[in-house]
C-alpha cells in the first residue's frame, strides 16, 4: 500500500519543530508500524536526508520504549504498543499523522523522541522496596492471597511507556504512578513502606509538572496494558490516608 505520512520534525529541544509530509510506497500489510518507519528512514538516507528519530527497543511490546502519537491516539488505533501495531490496521492511500508525546514532563529530544526520565525520577522517589534481598526464599514462604496477587500483577504489567500521559488532556501521570503504587503496596514486601512511597511519588509527580486527573478515563482507554482506573482510586485512598495518619 501507498501512504502519506505527516511527521513532526524537530532538530533538538531548543529549535522549533514542524509537521513534514512524506510518501512511502509498497508497504506490506504484514509490516509492523516501526518497520514501515524503517522503510521511510532508509529512503531518506538514500536521498541524503536526516532520518526520522524515534524511540524503539525490544519490538515485542514489553519494554515500553516506543512512543508515537499516531492519528490522535498514543500507539495508534489498536490497543497495543506501536511496535505491535501492524500496517493491516491502515488502508491504501491513508494519511497518517505521527507526533511525539506532548507533555511538559516529557520534553522533545528530537523528532518523535521524548525524554521520559521524569518517570525514572518518580520511581526513584519511592517506587521500590528497600529490603536486602539475600538468597531467594522458598516459594510460598510468604502467603499471598490469589486475588491480591492478581491485582498486584495487573498493576505490574505497566511498562512505563507514558501513553497515559500522552492520552490525558491534562498530561497527567496518575495512571502510571497509581499502577506502581498499587503493584508495590498490595504485596506484603512493599506494604511496610506504602505511606512513605505514596507521598514521595506524588510529590515528585507534581514536581515534574504533570497535570491533575479529571477522571475522563482517556488514560485507561488508551493504555496498551489495560491498566485500570481502580488503581487511581487506590492511590487517592492511600495518599489521603497517609497524609492524615502517618508520622512522616
Amino acid at each position: 500500500m501507498n501512504l502519506t505520512l505527516k511527521i513532526w520534525r524537530q532538530k533538538n529541544n531548543k529549535e522549533k519543530g514542524k509537521m513534514v509530509t512524506y510518501k512511502v510506497q509498497d508497504i506490506s500489510d504484514d509490516m509492523s508500524f516501526l518497520e514501515m518507519m524503517d522503510v521511510l528512514n532508509e529512503e531518506l538516507l538514500k536521498k541524503g536526508e536526516e532520518p526520522v528519530a524515534f524511540d524503539h527497543d525490544c519490538r515485542e511490546g514489553i519494554c515500553g520504549m516506543c512512543s508515537m502519537y499516531i492519528n490522535g491516539h498514543p500507539h495508534g488505533p489498536e490497543r497495543t504498543t506501536t511496535c505491535q501495531l501492524h500496517m493491516r490496521s491502515f488502508k491504501d492511500g491513508d494519511t497518517i499523522t505521527i507526533e511525539p508525546w506532548r507533555a511538559k514532563g516529557f520534553p522533545v529530544v528530537k523528532d518523535l523522541v521524548v525524554d521520559r526520565s521524569a518517570f525514572d525520577r518518580i520511581i526513584q522517589a519511592g517506587g521500590f522496596v528497600s529490603v536486602n534481598t539475600g538468597v531467594s526464599v522458598d516459594a510460598n514462604e510468604i502467603p499471598i492471597a490469589k486475588d491480591v496477587a492478581s491485582e498486584a500483577m495487573d498493576a505490574a504489567t505497566c511498562i512505563g511507556c507514558g501513553a497515559c500521559v500522552a492520552a490525558c488532556k491534562n498530561a497527567s501521570a496518575m495512571l502510571f504512578v497509581s499502577a506502581k503504587i498499587s503493584h508495590l503496596g498490595l504485596l506484603p514486601q512493599g506494604k511496610t513502606e506504602k505511606n512513605r512511597r505514596v507521598q514521595r511519588m506524588i510529590a515528585q509527580m507534581d514536581a515534574e509538572e504533570f497535570g491533575a486527573c479529571t477522571n475522563t478515563g482517556a488514560c485507561a482507554a488508551e493504555c496498551p496494558k489495560s491498566i485500570s482506573l481502580v488503581n487511581i482510586a487506590r492511590m487517592n485512598r492511600e495518599y489521603f490516608a497517609a497524609k492524615v495518619a502517618s508520622e512522616a
Binding site: R102, N170, N215, A221, R234, N236
Partner: protein, 262 residues
C-alpha cells in the same frame, strides 16, 4: 507550609477539594429541589411562602447558606487553578487529537460556566430581590399575611418571572448544562474519594446518572409547569419523572452489561 496546606495544594488535594465541595453542592440541590417543588402545589403559594420565610430566617439554615456560597466560590477558584495548571502541563497541543473520553468529562469548565451564568441571573432574580431590597424602599417583593404571620410573597415574584418565555427557556437550557455537568461530576466524585470497587460501581453509576438527569429535569419542570399554568401538576410531574427514571435505569444497566461483556 504545614501538612494540611501541602496536601490540599497537591494535584490530589485539589481534586479532593473539587470532590468534597461538589458533594456538598449536590446535597444542596436535593434540599433546594424538595423545597421548590412546593411551587407546584395548588394553594396560591402558601406552602412555598411559609417554607421560604422559614429558610430565610432560621439561623441554622442561614449558616449553611453561607457555607454553600463559600463552597461554590471554592469550587470555582479551585477549578480555575487546576485548569491553568493542567493547560501548562501540555504546552504544545496535538495537531491531530483523537479524543478517547466523553465530551462532558472534557468540558466541565464550559458546563460550569453555563451554570455560573445561570446562578447570577437566578440569584439576582429571586435571592437578590428578597434579601437586598425592602418593601418600604420600593421593593419588588410584596407582602402576604397568613393568619397572624406576615411575610414576603416570593411565590408571586416567581410566578410573574416565569410568565416570560425567554427566562423559562434559559432555565431549561441551564438545567441541561447542569445535567451534563453532574453526569461527569457526581460519579467522578466517588473515584476521587477512592471509592471504585467492582461490587459498588454499578450502584454508583446508576445513582449517578439518575441523579444527574432527574434532579435537573425536576428543576426545569418548575418554570415550564408555571409558564403553562399547570399548578397542582405535581402528580403529573412525579409520573413523568418515574417514567424517566425507569428509562435512565434501563439504559445505564444495559450499557453496564455491554461493558462487562467486552
Amino acid at each position: 507550609m504545614n501538612w494540611v496546606v501541602k496536601t490540599l495544594t497537591s494535584t490530589l488535594g485539589r481534586k479532593l477539594i473539587m470532590a468534597l465541595t461538589g458533594a456538598f453542592l449536590s446535597l444542596f440541590l436535593v434540599v433546594h429541589l424538595i423545597g421548590n417543588l412546593q411551587l407546584l402545589k395548588d394553594d396560591g403559594g402558601m406552602a412555598f411562602n411559609i417554607y421560604a420565610d422559614f429558610m430565610g430566617h432560621n439561623p441554622l439554615i442561614q449558616t449553611v447558606s453561607i457555607l454553600n456560597f463559600t463552597f461554590i466560590i471554592l469550587h470555582i477558584i479551585t477549578s480555575v487553578i487546576l485548569t491553568r495548571l493542567n493547560n501548562k502541563a501540555r504546552p504544545v497541543s496535538y495537531a491531530y487529537d483523537g479524543k478517547s473520553s466523553a465530551w462532558s468529562s472534557r468540558n466541565m469548565g464550559i458546563l460550569g460556566t453555563v451554570i455560573l451564568i445561570f446562578l447570577v441571573v437566578h440569584l439576582s432574580n429571586f435571592w437578590g430581590k428578597s434579601k437586598l431590597t425592602t418593601f418600604e424602599a420600593g421593593s419588588y417583593v410584596p407582602y402576604v399575611t397568613y393568619g397572624e404571620a406576615t411575610m414576603q410573597n416570593l411565590y408571586d415574584v416567581v410566578a410573574i418571572s416565569f410568565q416570560e418565555w425567554w427566562l423559562v427557556a434559559l432555565y431549561v437550557v441551564s438545567m441541561i448544562g447542569l445535567a451534563f455537568h453532574l453526569s461527569h461530576g457526581f460519579i467522578s466524585m466517588f473515584q476521587t474519594l477512592g471509592l471504585n470497587h467492582s461490587k459498588y460501581n454499578f450502584v454508583i453509576k446508576i445513582v449517578g446518572y439518575e441523579f444527574a438527569i432527574l434532579v435537573p429535569a425536576m428543576f426545569a419542570a418548575i418554570p415550564v409547569f408555571m409558564f403553562l399554568n399547570l399548578q397542582g401538576g405535581l402528580l403529573y410531574l412525579f409520573a413523568g419523572i418515574g417514567v424517566l427514571a425507569l428509562v435512565v435505569g434501563a439504559m445505564v444497566s444495559n450499557g453496564h452489561k455491554q461493558q462487562l461483556a467486552v
